[in-house]
Amino acid sequence: MDGGLWITESRLTVVVGHFGSGKTEFSVNLAVALGKSGRPFALADLDLVDPYFCSRTCEDVLRSSGGRLIARSQRCFDADVPSVPPEVMTLLDSQELFGVLDVGGDASGARVLARYRDPLIRCGARVLCVVNGNRPLTHTPEQAAAYIRDIQQACGLAVTGLVNNTHLCGQTQLEDILEGNQLCRTLSARLNIPLTCTAVPEHLAGQAAGLLPRVFPMKLYLKKPWELPLPEKEEI
C-alpha cells in the first residue's frame, strides 16, 4: 500500500472538511499510524463546534499507541464552552513531535485555525481535506469545491491534499469507495490539489488496495453506544 510514506511526509497535519466527513476518525487513525511508524506524536482536538463524537473521547487509543491527546481541560470536556488548549503551541514549536490537528467541521469549525495560521505556515504543515462522497452536501465536485473554498477562506490556509473517505458508517461497500474516488479525482484535477490517500475500513482495505493507490486502512474508533464491544466477562 505504497508503504504509507505519505503518513510521515509532513510533521504537522491539519485535518479539515465538511461536518460528518469523518475528519475525527481519520485524524485518530493517522495519529495511530504515526505511532506505528515510531514517531513521537500528539493529536490536538480543535473541534470547538461539535460536542459529540470528538477525538477527545479517544485518549486511551492515543495513549496505548504511544502518543498523547492535546485537548481542553478534562473538566470542560462536556461543557459548551469553546476554548483552545494552550498546549497546541508546544506542538507547533516542537522540532520532532509529529502532530495531527483535528479541526471542527465546515468553515465555522475551520475558523479556529486562523489563530495558528502563521506558525502553521512556518512549520510547513499540510492541510488535508476529508471528503465523503455519500454526504448530501458534498457529493458533487461543485459542492465539495465550494466547501473547500469556504474552509480556506475561514482559516487563511490552502488545502494541500484531499482524503477520499467516502463511507456509510458501518455499512460501507467497495462501490462507495470507488465512487468517492471518482469524485475526488475530478475535484483534484479541478482544484489542482493532489489526492493524498483513500481511507478505507480495515476489512475492505485488501480489496481496495488492488484497485486504488495509497489506500489507508482505518479502524473505526468512534462507535455508537450500542456498537461498543462488550467488556471482558465479569462476575455479575
Binding site: F19, D78, N134, C169, Q171, K224, W226, L230
Partner: protein
C-alpha cells in the same frame, strides 16, 4: 435508491423541508444547532422562511403565527429551550394549530448538561403548559425513522390541527447514519379553511384564538379537544416489537436506550435468556393496549423499563402492565448513556430475583 450518510439534525431539517415545512423559527442551543444552521441555508432556497428569533418564546409564537396563516411551520430546541416554549405550545393546542416542535433532549433539570438525556418525557407526554391538552409525541430511534417520522409529524399535525412533538435524545441528533429518501405519498388532509390567510371571498374573517370568555364555551371546547385526543389515541399509536415472540423478559425503551437494549438482548439471547424489546414509537398516545396484551401472555415473566432519566416512561409501562407482572427499572441520567453491559447486568439481576 441511493443511501446517503446524514447527521441526525440535518436529516430532521431536510425531512421537514421535503414534508412541505416552509417556516422555521428557532433559537440556538446545543445539541441541536445543526437544525437551525441547516435550515438557514436550505429553507430560503426552498422558498420558505427562516428566522433566528430573539428567544425561544418568540420562536414558538412565530410558529403559532405561521401556522395560523395555514403554513407548515416548525421550531426546534433542546430541553431548557423547549421549557420556554411550553406557553406557546399550550396556546397552539388551545387554538387548534398544527405545528411541529423538535426537542433534542439533553441533561437537566435547569441548564443541566449538553449530553443526551430523556428527562423531558413527562413534559412532552403530559403537556408542559397549562390546561387540558395533549401533544402527539413521536420518538424515532434511528435516522431513517427520524426522517420518515418528520413527514408523519406534519401530516398528523394538519389532520388533527394539533402540535406534534418529535422527541429525540442528543445522540440521535448528533450521530451519523445512512438513510434513503423515500416517497411519502402522505394521507388525505382536510383543507385549511380555518386559516387566517385573508378574507378570500368568505363572508366572515377567520379568527384564531385560544380565548373563551364564557366557562361553558370553554368547557365545550375542552370536550371537543378530548374527542380529538380520543381519535388520535385510536388511530396514531405506533410501536415496534423486537424478539418478543417467545420473550420471558420484556425491556421497554425508546430512542437511544432502545438501541442499547437491543444489543443487550441479542447478547442475552446467546446466553439462553429469552429477552426482547418493546419500543414505543409514539410516547403519546402510549401503546398501552398492546403492552397490556403482552403482559397477559403466560410466557412473559417480567418487564424492565430502560431510560436515560430517573424513571418517567416507567409510569406508563406500569399503567399498561397494570400489575399483571412485575416492572423493574434501569436508568442513567444527566447526560450519561447506559452501557450495553449495564443493561445486561440489570436484566440478569432482575432475572435472578424472579427465579
Amino acid at each position: 435508491m441511493k443511501r446517503e450518510i446524514w447527521k441526525g439534525s440535518e436529516a430532521i431539517a431536510e425531512a421537514a423541508i421535503r414534508a412541505g415545512c416552509r417556516g422555521f423559527f428557532g433559537y440556538p442551543i446545543t445539541p441541536q444547532n445543526e437544525i437551525p444552521e441547516y435550515m438557514s441555508v436550505r429553507m430560503p432556497a426552498a422558498g420558505g422562511v427562516f428566522v433566528q428569533a430573539e428567544s425561544e418564546l418568540a420562536a414558538i409564537n412565530m410558529v403559532y403565527g405561521a401556522a395560523a396563516c395555514g403554513v407548515r411551520a416548525m421550531t426546534s430546541s433542546s430541553s431548557p429551550g423547549v421549557s420556554l416554549k411550553q406557553e406557546g405550545i399550550s396556546y397552539m393546542a388551545g387554538a387548534e394549530l398544527p405545528g411541529v416542535i423538535v426537542n433534542v433532549m439533553r441533561g437537566g433539570p435547569g441548564l443541566g448538561s449538553i449530553q443526551p438525556a430523556q428527562g423531558d418525557y413527562y413534559q412532552a407526554t403530559r403537556g408542559g403548559g397549562n390546561g387540558d391538552y395533549r401533544t402527539v409525541v413521536l420518538a424515532p430511534a434511528s435516522l431513517q425513522e427520524a426522517a420518515d417520522l418528520m413527514f408523519e409529524a406534519f401530516d398528523i399535525a394538519d389532520q388533527y390541527r394539533n402540535p406534534v412533538v418529535v422527541l429525540v435524545d442528543g445522540l440521535i441528533a448528533q450521530m451519523m447514519e445512512p438513510i434513503v429518501w423515500k416517497e411519502h405519498p402522505g394521507r388525505p388532509l382536510p383543507e385549511k379553511t380555518w386559516a387566517a390567510d385573508g378574507r378570500r371571498g368568505r363572508a366572515h374573517n377567520n379568527f384564531v384564538t385560544s380565548l373563551f370568555m364564557d366557562a361553558p364555551d370553554c368547557e365545550a371546547h375542552n370536550l371537543a379537544l378530548l374527542e380529538k385526543y380520543k381519535a388520535i389515541e385510536a388511530n396514531e399509536c405506533r410501536w415496534e416489537e423486537l424478539m418478543l415472540d417467545d420473550a420471558e423478559l420484556v425491556l421497554v425503551a425508546y430512542g437511544t436506550p432502545s438501541r442499547v437494549a437491543q444489543t443487550a438482548v441479542e447478547h442475552l439471547r446467546s446466553q439462553n435468556i429469552k429477552a426482547g424489546v418493546f419500543r414505543p414509537i409514539t410516547l403519546w398516545p402510549f401503546p398501552y393496549a398492546r403492552l397490556r396484551e403482552i403482559a397477559a401472555q403466560p410466557q412473559v415473566k417480567r418487564f424492565m423499563a430502560v431510560e436515560m432519566s430517573t424513571g418517567q416512561m416507567v409510569d406508563d409501562v406500569n399503567l399498561a402492565v397494570a400489575g399483571q407482572k412485575p416492572v423493574a427499572f434501569y436508568g442513567r441520567c444527566g447526560g450519561v448513556i447506559p452501557h450495553v453491559s449495564e443493561i445486561e447486568g440489570a436484566v440478569l439481576a432482575a432475572w435472578k430475583e424472579g427465579l
